[in-house]
């Protein structure tokens, strides 16, 4: 009787541990379900993920992805608490989160260029950061990638926030500029400049990435999943990078694939969407996909220190790793 109980208990424990572990399985085994916080609404810029699913790269890696289009900071908190293994994040968020003790690590770079630009009406002739002196600049608010990118640009040009006037306008850069209420705004390289030109408004653009290399958008993992299940991390990154590589190699195919993943895609201006994808690809291209450049992290840390968003230097080797990329 006693033996029977022990055997049953052992059997149950084994079964439970099999269910509990996030081991990726190949081919026939059950898939590991992963909820992935994307940090933005369904968008053509997520094409590498759509391609990786469509082509079965995630399935072959034993992973089933469920997209979760929630706020970036909420995704980071979920990774911090260990509720989800991965999230898509911007570089500065990694350091802000780690400064507050969140156990999160950046495991693969997706964007090699910081995706923020300052956009100005052409007639102002704003071509270099120094031209911004004395100008009023509209941006969503004093937070997030737009703000960090602008500050980095000013910092690099030996200017400070007091050399310009900042105007918090929410995510209304395109509308307010089209309405003539703003002449200079900060936005995403692959969004605002393209949208404005599509509306027939001639603009010039200063890309932050042309002046300073900053840790950009990539994949965040919890310290927990890295410790307990490094194979899952490797499998996830591998599948994603295949999707990324295919998207860069064949944008037209990636564009077609994305259609089914983005609601109301048919209502969007296809020409604009194609440009968004093209511009995004420019920012993804690099020799070794997924690679985190140490200098980009140093630069990001210096900008955040200068802004006062972090007060002490962090151990950057713990904030990112290149261990999992092929």
């Amino acid at each position: 009787m006693f033996r029977k109980v022990v055997l049953i208990t052992l059997g149950m424990a084994l079964a439970l541990s099999a269910c509990g572990s996030l081991k990726p399985t190949n081919g026939t085994g059950a898939l590991t379900k992963i909820r992935l916080p994307m940090g933005y609404i369904p968008n053509i810029q997520f094409a590498p993920f759509y391609v990786a699913i469509q082509k079965g790269y995630f399935r072959d890696a034993g992973i089933e992805i469920e997209f979760d289009y929630k706020f970036e900071t909420d995704g980071i908190k979920l990774v911090g608490t260990g509720d989800v293994p991965f999230a898509l994040v911007s570089g500065e968020q990694v350091l802000l989160a780690r400064a507050q003790g969140l156990p999160v690590v950046y495991i693969a770079a997706w964007y090699q260029q910081y995706p923020v630009s300052v956009v100005a009406k052409s007639e102002l002739g704003i071509l270099i950061p120094q031209d911004l002196k004395g100008k009023k600049i509209g941006l969503p608010g004093l937070f997030g990638a737009n703000y960090v990118g602008l500050r980095a640009l000013l910092f690099k040009a030996h200017m400070s926030e007091s050399d310009v006037t900042l105007d918090s306008i929410g995510f209304n850069q395109v509308d307010l500029m089209a309405a003539g209420q703003q002449d200079v705004v900060v936005g995403y390289t692959a969004n605002e400049p393209i949208q404005l030109r599509a509306r027939g408004i001639p603009v010039t653009e200063i890309r932050v990435a042309d002046y300073v290399q900053l840790a950009s958008n990539g994949i965040l993992a919890s310290e927990k999943v890295i410790k307990e299940n490094p194979e899952l991390v490797r499998a996830f990154i591998g599948a994603f990078l295949k999707g990324l590589s295919d998207t860069i190699a064949n944008p037209d195919e990636a564009f077609k694939t994305s259609e089914t993943y983005i609601p109301n895609f048919a209502d969007l201006d296809a020409k604009v969407q194609k440009q968004v994808l093209e511009t995004s690809i420019e920012q993804w291209k690099t020799e070794r996909l997924g690679y985190s450049n140490p200098q980009a992290w140093e630069n990001m840390q210096n900008v955040l220190l200068e802004m006062g968003l972090i007060t002490d230097k962090l151990d950057l080797n713990k904030a990112y790793t290149n261990e999992f990329i092929p």
Binding site: T73, I76, G80, Q100
Partner: protein, 260 residues
């Protein structure tokens, strides 16, 4: 021998002591949970880390600045909301037909949660102080209005008869009978309005603002600075308590005659 003295002391200070003890106990439990449960600081910060954050925000001036902004929104909203509510409330109390005309609108306006229309108000009125004052005023308006109506209607007819027999003027009736007689109910409404006004200001600031405690709260959230979120929340509680206390003092001051 001393027992009587202690018993009297206990009787007199019973309630105060209970309050303090309960607060200290709460803090202790909070401290023990954070210390022994292994919950990380960014999920539930320890009381001490909230206190340290409070001192830091106090010393760099940011806390006082943002609290000042929120307080001014609250005070302005409270003033505007109360003023409108009193005037409209008096009118409604005096005229049943006016009440018939306006009450569908008033009830409907209360059926809309302010949180739902706050984004609209920010679009219409901008993300400056005006939208917050209006949201605050809207939230304050209804409880003060209802209590004004109830208070004015509760004035005993006999008092009107008395004033009329003395040939009192309209304004004499207002100031010598209606205002004092309806004040207790009115101040009860104001007490609710005052605490609600804090919610109004925060709702407005969370939707779109660059300053104020709501902004500070959101900034703390965006920067994973949970102790800062706690500091902002405690400041809001403190503001609500102070406002509540002020109205209570007003009640004591103006309603002293009632106790006799």
């Amino acid at each position: 021998m001393n027992f009587n003295f202690i018993r009297t002391l206990a009787k007199n200070h019973n309630r105060n002591w209970l309050g303090v003890i309960s607060l200290l106990l709460g803090l202790l439990v909070w401290h023990l949970i954070t210390r022994y449960s292994g919950i990380p600081n960014f999920i539930l910060p320890a009381p001490l880390s909230v206190w340290t954050r409070f001192l830091k925000a106090l010393s760099d001036g940011s806390l006082i600045y943002h609290t000042g902004i929120t307080l001014s929104e609250i005070v302005l909203g409270l003033l505007v909301g109360t003023m409108f509510a009193t005037v409209v409330g008096y009118g409604l109390a005096k005229s049943r037909s006016l009440e018939k005309v306006l009450s569908p609108y008033l009830v409907a306006s209360q059926a809309i949660p302010v949180v739902a229309i706050a984004p609209l108000l920010v679009i219409w009125l901008g993300d400056g102080i005006l939208s917050k004052v209006v949201i605050c005023a809207l939230i304050v308006f209804f409880p003060v209005l209802v209590n004004t109506i109830v208070g004015v209607r509760a004035v005993p007819i006999a008092l009107y008869d008395l004033m009329n027999s003395l040939h009192a003027s309209r304004s004499q009736i207002l100031w010598k009978v209606e205002v004092p007689a309806s004040l207790p109910v009115f101040l009860g409404g104001l007490r609710i309005g005052a605490t609600l006004s804090v919610i109004g200001a925060i709702v407005g600031e969370l939707v779109g603002a660059e300053e104020g405690l709501g902004f500070l709260l959101q900034l703390g959230d965006f920067q994973y600075d949970t102790p800062m979120v706690f500091v902002a929340v405690f400041m809001l509680i403190a503001l609500a308590l102070v406002l509540y206390g002020i109205v209570t003092l007003l009640e004591k001051r103006f309603l002293r005659w009632q106790e006799k």
